[in-house]
Amino acid sequence: MEKVRARSTDQMRPLEKTGPRPIHKFLSFLVFLAGGIGLPAPMVLAEDAAGAHDLFKKCAVCHEIGTNARNKVGPHLNGLDGRTAGTVDRYKYSRAVKKAGGGGLRWNAETLTEYLRKPRAFLKGTRMSFAGMKDPDQLAELVAWLIGFSADGKAGSMANSDKTELLGASASALEGDPEYGEYIAGECVTCHQISGKEDGIPSITGWPKENFIHALVEYKNKLRANPVMQTVTSRLGDEEMAALAAYFATLKHK
């Protein structure tokens, strides 16, 4: 347990978003750990994963994770890292979670840790009936394990936020032309109401630029499932994404 604690503390540090890492921090740390205590790596991996997996049993009442995970009472948890809150396809979120996502909340090691520590305090109005996880070590262990799952449900893969951050970086660096954005937005507002109202299609009004681009990049790279959005984003270049993000960021919910 000593060793696990040490690793957990490491996980608590905010992730640096500088570029892709060849493997997830979690895995590399395990390898380091394994070396440190002189055990063959696979054993530690198995043991540790079992620990996190045990912790996950609390969540598994409502959530699935891994290959073929589906939405149950709660949304599936694949590809959690870097995902905007409230955006799993075909899951009906509470207004609170949708609103938080619209306001820019994205899941990563930090935000998930905060959330799972005391869900209702972090996100008032969430429907998730989980009181919270007090033990910081267990919490860190669980979070590290959760965010290791890629969008297609592979455990221990490179964090999605790293991938899409990198992909979206070139668009985010541009100063978008809101006039161009308003024109291209013609394609969006046939479905997404400009007022921010939702009737079966999520609001995209008033999102922070970075989140907006992030979501587009995820669709373009098919990390999100909806084929309409995959098609819409397929021809958006950096300039178009930056322009759209600039335009939608200027709008207010009515």
């Binding site: 589906r70 075909r90 046939t190 109401q193 009737d199 079966g200 084929p227 098609t231």
Partner: protein, 421 residues
């Protein structure tokens, strides 16, 4: 200082030619755009030109009806998923919020040389740019025996309105175990998946109210939109109820008789208890009157939706030849924004961006079983061309289909808000 017209004249004098509004005569305060047809294409165009020009362009919308009942989701009304009032929309917001001058009248003719429109009321309206989005007219004689008079007995119900309500009551009043016959139109026509969604929705009603009834589809086409998806859905939800016959099976439609309710084909004569016959189609008559059609439809310049024959006229929606784009409300709405951008650029010098079009058609097969097909498009030099496309898959799980249906409801709210404000 506010310039009145006299000031304006003396202040500009010979400098007029340098104005960014080349088509403007001095006699006009503002450039005038007139839109004929307040449907998916026309309402959107009027709204976008008025909204985005911020008062610099005077927009008049000429629409015959006071209330527009969408064809989209009229099938959901047939299936009992919507009430009729929920698919009706008015023009008040276009007038109040965007300053569109809405005129409820019927345009009878166009003098393209004089840039003038004649109205049924006897009035006339002049324009600098004209947008035509009149939708479709029926070619009744494309189905032997069918006519405008036959519509009451065998409604096409392809222009929404009272025919859709008639059709629903005819289906509901069929005798027990009776036969409903659907004759879909030949290509090209408004809403390619529409006839098949209609069949699904009628099957849905019959399954509840008249489960031993049968549906026979006498199709002039050998294949149809989303065929695999529809046929899979029919098997699953309405086994043994629907029989689809392509031309290689029925051998050709020889006659329909609204008095005896018979549909005669080479294979056999079907006796119907209720029927919907949708004939071939062509651009709304005002497009013909404007002289911008070639055959049944109006060819356009893909980059702007300008009529090929007349640079002052734009044609949107079903009436146009939009090549790869299907005739749908979504397409018409998308084309309207490209045209609005181009027209504003011409009349006020605003930035004109490259044309980009898109479309998605959702169809409902049964409760919570929605499917979709869609694409985006760009302007080729001659035609509108596909950039990327998708279609729902057969065998998708229930959650996906349910989400697709819910998404279609969101789209309906979205597009009608985008059209009418």
């Amino acid at each position: 200082m506010k310039l009145n017209r006299r000031h304006f004249l003396s202040a500009t004098g010979a400098g007029v030619a340098t104005l960014a509004m080349p088509s403007l005569g001095l006699g006009q305060a503002k450039p005038k755009v007139v839109v004929i047809g307040g449907g998916a294409g026309g309402a959107t165009a009027a709204r976008y030109i008025a909204k985005d020009s911020k008062g610099k362009i005077a927009v008049t919308l000429i629409e015959a009806s006071k209330r527009y009942y969408t064809c989209f989701f009229s099938n959901l009304y047939l299936g009992g998923f919507r009430d009729y009032a929920s698919i009706g929309h008015g023009y008040d917001t276009l007038a109040a919020d965007h300053g569109v001058n809405v005129v409820h009248d019927w345009a009878t003719g166009i003098d393209a040389g004089a840039k003038k429109i004649m109205l049924a009321s006897g009035a006339s309206v002049s324009y600098d740019r004209l947008v035509l989005s009149p939708g479709i007219d029926m070619k009744y004689d494309s189905v032997p025996g069918y006519s405008a008079e036959a519509q009451g007995r065998m409604p096409h119900a392809w222009k929404s309105g009272t025919q859709v309500q008639q059709l629903r009551s005819q289906v509901e009043n069929m005798r027990e175990g009776g036969t409903f016959v659907m004759v879909p139109p030949p290509n090209p026509f408004r809403c390619p998946p529409g006839p098949y969604e209609r069949i699904s929705m009628i099957a849905h009603i019959l399954k509840q109210k008249n489960p031993s009834a049968k549906i026979i589809v006498v199709d002039p086409k050998p294949k149809f939109s989303k065929q695999a998806l529809f046929q899979e859905g029919w098997e699953a939800h309405y086994p043994d109820m629907i029989e689809w016959l392509g031309p290689d099976i029925h051998g050709g439609i020889k006659n329909v008789n609204p008095d005896t309710m018979e549909i005669e084909t080479d294979l056999e004569t079907f006796k119907a208890d209720a029927a919907s016959v949708v004939p071939a189609q062509k651009a709304g008559s005002i497009a013909m009157a404007a002289g911008v059609t070639d055959g049944d439809w109006a060819p356009i310049v893909p980059a702007s939706m300008q009529a090929k024959g007349d640079p002052n006229i734009y044609v949107l929606g079903d009436a146009s030849i939009a090549a790869a784009m299907p005739k749908s409300g979504f397409s018409a709405n998308s084309q309207a924004k490209v045209a609005a951008n181009a027209i504003r650029g011409e009349l006020t010098g605003s930035k004109v961006f490259p044309a980009r079009f898109s479309n998605t058609c959702w169809s409902l097969i049964a409760t919570d079983d929605g499917v979709k097909v869609g694409a985006n498009y760009g302007a080729g030099s001659e035609k509108i061309e596909v950039v990327d496309k998708f279609i729902s898959k057969t065998g998708e799980d229930e959650a996906v289909r349910k989400a697709t249906y819910e998404e279609s409801e969101g789209w309906y709210k979205g597009i009608t808000t985008d059209m009418f404000g």
